[in-house]
């Protein structure tokens, strides 16, 4: 029997946040990452498209599974540079950068900055092969 599935895994919009963890495991939130360009539009369109194919009965899917993705960096410069070079639709805003530097300074030796973001994954199963008129 043929199987038709779509597996959609992607970051949850609006959730990446910059944090600092100190040597004893204490954490300080420094702020979120700022959207750049048309990132929010693309995320919203993707979610709307998935909702549409589910609502119209083309696919069925259980609730998405979620997990946390953490990227750990050497220092503030490393984090900011990485976001600038590798994150197409995000940047570290001025306020978050300042709080990051302050939090690292307060946390002392052994502290690490990191980005925490939610990821969701959903398996969609095709249930209708042709459009009903």
């Amino acid at each position: 029997m043929a199987r038709w599935f779509v597996l959609d895994i992607r970051p949850v919009a609006d959730e990446p946040e910059v944090w600092v963890r100190d040597r004893s495991g204490g954490e300080t939130r420094c702020g979120g990452l700022t959207w750049v360009g048309d990132g929010p539009v693309g995320h919203a369109q993707a979610s709307a498209a998935v909702d549409q194919i589910l609502n119209e009965g083309w696919f069925a899917a259980p609730a998405p599974r979620r997990f946390e993705w953490v990227d750990v960096f050497d220092d503030a410069d490393d984090l900011i540079e990485c976001v600038s070079e590798e994150w197409e639709h995000r940047s570290v805003g001025e306020e978050t950068s300042l709080r990051l530097v302050e939090a690292l300074s307060r946390a002392g030796r052994g502290a690490a900055p990191f980005i925490r973001q939610g990821i969701q994954a959903q398996l969609l199963r095709k249930v209708r092969l042709t459009k009903l008129v």
Partner: protein, 96 residues
């Protein structure tokens, strides 16, 4: 400092909790550098990495998918260069 959970392992576990890749024909759309394909490549009957960016495909062949049997294809999700029902599973890995 307390260690963080390995995000790659979390991703691997979630993918396999959701989908059965064994013997499947899988198309990953927007495969990028092929990082995520490594989670399931060995289990599939066929894996095709599709991306619209030649540079990403070249990087995939040179690094993540080096010496693997994954096939690479250039194209866009809106106009897939495959016949209907060529695959059992389409994966959008951080690409929607």
């Amino acid at each position: 400092m307390t260690d963080f959970p390995n995000p790659e392992q979390l991703e691997h576990d979630v993918l396999h909790a959701l989908a059965d890749f064994r013997g499947a024909r899988v198309l990953e759309i927007g495969a990028g550098d092929g990082r995520m394909i490594r989670h399931y490549l060995r289990e599939t009957a066929l894996t095709v990495a599709l991306d619209s960016d030649w540079d990403e495909l070249i990087a995939a062949r040179a690094e993540s998918l080096k010496d693997t049997n994954a096939r690479l294809a250039h194209g866009q999700a809106e106009r897939l260069p495959f016949s209907e029902s060529s695959f059992d599973l389409a994966v959008f890995g951080w690409s929607l």
